[in-house]
Amino acid sequence: MAHSYTPGLTVTESTVVRRRRLLPLPGKILVSGGDRVRSDQAVARAELPGKVYPLNLANQLSIAPDEIHDYLVKKEGDLVQKDEILAENKPLIKWFKTEVRSPIAGRIESLSKVTGQVLLREPPRILHLLAYIDGTVIETIPEQGVIIEATCSLVQGIFGIGGEVWGEIVLAVPSAGEPLLPAHLKSSMKGKIVVGGSFLSAETLVKAKEVGVAGLVVGGIHDKDLRALLGYDLGVAITGTEQVGFTLILTEGFGTIPMASKTFKLLSSHAGQKASISGATQIRAGVIRPEIIIPQTATSVSAAAQMQREGIRLGDPVRIIRDPLFGRIGEVSALPSDLTKIPTESEVRVLEVKFADGERAVIPRTNIEVIEG
């Protein structure tokens, strides 16, 4: 039978993750296979070509494009300083002399006799690619990057903003259902990864920026507060490059939703330890979810666990991910195979979820998420 799977978010005490660290363009690898690396260590380096400045010499000297070689002081490939003369005319009367000076320090990349254009390029910028997680280099890809493996605890969030940061995990609230308030954020939390409970308000976001936390992990947020934080309405969930002062990870979704107790317990048990987090989210082909990676001290490295689910089973812990019971957590108590008509009149495959209080509800299978790990 064809495989069917229900995607879920991983929350696990122990797993092995592999992260591909790739340069945007070919460069030099700085580590070797088997090396232990720290999150803030450079593992590869590349030279990003400098910015290009086109300059139309023909126009500036009022000459035909194919004549520019006669007026050039510099040639293709030459280094130039800012304000250094690139080309000049040689009039009989000195007053009519025109000089074209370089707007940048760099190199003359090309000259065109068709357009009369010279392309100047700034010196390359060095880009250091950091390891992001504490782990072991298990593979180097020549000129491109490395693969780092780490035994760790892993929590996947549902949505995040901001890039890769690392720091010590600190718990700001006593329980998963408690909202994170400005008063919970202390100056000692600077540079740390702060774990909240159910919700984060606009005021707390402002305070977090003031304090200078490295990251925030909470259950939910209101869309309007996210909009205020970003300064625009997020249309498509492709994130990771935002610069709001910290990285934000939601574990449950939008609204006030208590963090799943399994997630909260796991993060609580690692308070004081270092974690690497990334807010990068891509909800499209090639799904990327935000993550919290807490490296374990064990040095033995086993093969990476491939987490593949095939179908939902009775007793699986699940989270309901659509109204009217959005955010509730229970376990699968029945898996009827026939199509069932739901209130919208659609006929869909459903399952029955039993909640902790004994209540049961029939939910479309697409509207639940297995809590994995």
Binding site: M1, Q144, H222, V236, A285, E345, S346
Partner: protein
């Protein structure tokens, strides 16, 4: 013409065909069998697309989807990881396997031109017609400084670039300048870092040698005929063919498992939108219709139109019902969405719900109010995508027009949109929200509300989303594609009659006399604010004689009577007296009352 390079010649009879469409999230397979003299779609299977880790091989999803068909049909199609071809007997094998694909985000292109609304737009039309998503249009006069253009080219990672510019024999400077920018940016392809970016040059032929010098070593350059050889004419087909060839040779070959998929398939893999475009164009040409087709997906909405034989396609890359749902809210605004919702809901709750759908795109509405909210958002996504389409489906800009004395009073600029709702004969809807709406009237009203058709317009939906499959099938066996299209794919919803005019609710819009096929006659008045539905079965025709009110126009002029034969469908005949353009009461309670009245009058939703 859409993008089809050279359809293969198949000399054996094709009696059993399996076709797949590898979408971004789901791979859909259908089985087509020749039953008697006609082809029919018999079974359908689907499985998650497996282009990403941990599978990294698109064929896995294809085999899974086909395995589902095997299970349902009892026909043995797979032998391990191989598709059994040709068909051996009544219970095993298929005669051909074909496929379309939009997995991995489809074909993403950057196009360049010299003048933005001339060669820039022509290049955009060429790329869109070939099934691409255009991620940027660069032109000499696009207002960006040269170094900004270079930065932009460098930062985007397209699958391919199409360069155009200049008419044949015209000045070469600008197009060469653009080539210099592209060379300086040294753009890199989206997939893989080891192969060269494919680039199609379809500009001034006088500049070809210069382009070869500048870009020949830096890109996988292909040169083809100019898409705008003279200002008055576009020549998009050669560029589209090249794009399609390069899509197969370079882009697809880089995606995980596609080499195997190409080997498995008996015909070239087509980009999904190119295949849908092809089938839309085929319908329009066969029936001599002006049509608009729309495919509203999770991430994008594609609009196709054929007016007076001219085909156009646009893709609104960030208007969709799941991945891009939040962007519909951002672009349409909350007020425009709420005007379609027949109840009140606070802004914060609605915004959170939409964002939650964005981050969990596979969920479905479980309650009636959630369904109504999704239908409201779909109306806005459809409306915005059509606005986008109108702006690009235009006559050529920059063409010199001959003016006569009569034009003194009515001057039109060049580049007028080709979309004329009064001349529109058929609207075809496709995509989950339209194909899988619990009641067909819901699909019909979503299309009517979003497009506001004028006069008499037929509406149809794709039954289970098989247009891509039929598009690629039509390149190898037109009869099979036509048979299945007519019998199993197109579901005619019915006809909408909507006069142009404004009036107060309750005022006379038109008198009408409707004669059914059995001779039964209905004479009545259509008032402003009315929405009426008459059952008229698929295949049946009725005569509708309309006498519009003095200021109301039904295509022949204000107050001029019109008599037309109207076609039925699974929904029937919809008489829409809700004014054109549509009007809503400003007051919230009145707006909700009006919506409730409209929805109830056509039995749109089950009673709560």
């Amino acid at each position: 013409m859409t993008a089809v390079s050279s359809p293969p010649k198949i000399d054996r009879p094709l009696n059993v065909i399996v076709a797949t469409d590898c979408g971004s999230t789901t791979t859909k397979a259908i089985l087509i069998e020749k039953i008697g003299d006609n082809y029919r779609q018999t079974y359908r299977g689907e499985a998650p697309t497996t282009v990403e880790a941990p599978y990294d091989d698109v064929t896995r999803g294809v085999l899974n989807a086909i395995a589902e068909i095997e299970e349902l049909s009892g026909r043995k199609i797979l032998d391990g990881d191989t598709i059994l071809t040709p068909s051996r007997d009544a219970k095993s094998g298929v005669d051909i396997y074909i496929s379309t694909s939009s997995a991995g985000g489809g074909l993403q292109m950057m196009v360049t031109g010299v003048v933005q609304n001339m060669t820039g737009e022509s290049a955009q039309r060429a790329a869109l017609g070939a099934g691409a998503i255009v991620i940027d249009v660069l032109a000499s006069n696009d207002g960006r400084l040269p170094h900004e253009k270079i930065e932009r080219i460098r930062s985007m990672r397209p699958d391919m670039i199409l360069m155009s510019g200049g008419t044949d024999g015209g000045a070469v400077t600008h197009v060469v300048e653009m080539a210099e920018y592209v060379a300086a940016a040294d753009p890199r392809p989206r997939f893989g870092s080891t192969y060269m970016l494919p680039l199609v040059y379809a500009g001034n032929k006088e500049a070809q040698e210069q382009i070869k010098k500048i870009l020949g070593m830096k890109t996988a350059l292909k040169i083809t005929d100019n898409i705008r050889p003279v200002l008055e004419r576009e020549n998009l087909a050669p560029a589209r063919h090249k794009i399609h060839d390069l899509f197969l040779e370079h882009v697809m070959a880089q995606a995980p498992g596609y080499k195997n998929l190409i080997e498995m398939a008996g015909a070239p893999i087509m980009p999904t939108p190119a295949a849908v475009g092809l089938i839309m164009e085929t319908i329009a040409n066969r029936e001599h219709l002006n049509l608009i087709g729309v495919d509203i997906g999770g991430a994008t909405t594609d609009v196709f139109s054929v007016f007076e034989g001219t085909f156009n396609r646009t893709v609104s890359a960030n208007l969709g019902m799941s991945y891009s749902i939040s962007n519909v809210l951002a672009e349409a605004g909350l007020t425009n969405i709420m005007r379609w919702v027949p109840f009140t809901i606070d802004e914060q709750t609605l915004r959170n719900r939409i964002k939650n759908k964005m981050i969990r795109p596979t969920t479905i509405p479980q309650t009636l109010d959630e369904l109504q909210i999704e239908h409201a958002i779909a109306r806005e996504a459809l409306r915005l995508a059509l606005i986008h389409h109108r702006s690009l489906a235009t006559a050529l800009k920059g063409v010199q027009q001959e003016r006569t004395i009569s034009d003194v009073f009515e001057q039109q600029t060049s580049g007028k949109t080709l979309i004329d709702m009064m001349q529109l004969n058929l609207i075809v809807g496709s995509g989950g929200i339209l194909s899988h709406a619990p009641r067909r009237i819901q699909s019909m009203l979503m299309l009517v509300d979003a497009y506001e058709p004028l006069g008499f317009t037929m509406l149809a939906v794709d039954s289970i989303f098989m247009m891509p499959h039929l598009g690629v099938l039509s390149t190898i066996n037109e009869k099979a594609a036509t048979d299945v299209f007519v019998r199993d794919c197109m579901i005619y919803l019915g006809t909408c009659m909507a006069p142009i005019g404004q009036g107060k609710n309750g005022e006379l819009c038109a008198n009408y006399e409707l004669t059914f096929p059995d001779g039964k006659t209905v004479m009545d008045q259509l008032k402003f604010g009315d929405l009426r539905l008459y059952p008229l079965e698929d295949g049946q025709k009725a005569k509708l004689a309309v006498q519009p009110a003095k200021s109301v126009n039904l295509g022949s002029g204000a107050g001029v009577p019109v008599t037309r034969e109207v076609q039925g469908g699974v929904v029937g005949l919809l008489l829409d007296g809700r004014s054109r353009p549509l009007q809503w009461p400003a007051d919230q309670a009145e707006r909700i009352a009006a919506l409730t009245k409209w929805f109830d009058s056509v039995n749109l939703y089950p009673k709560a």
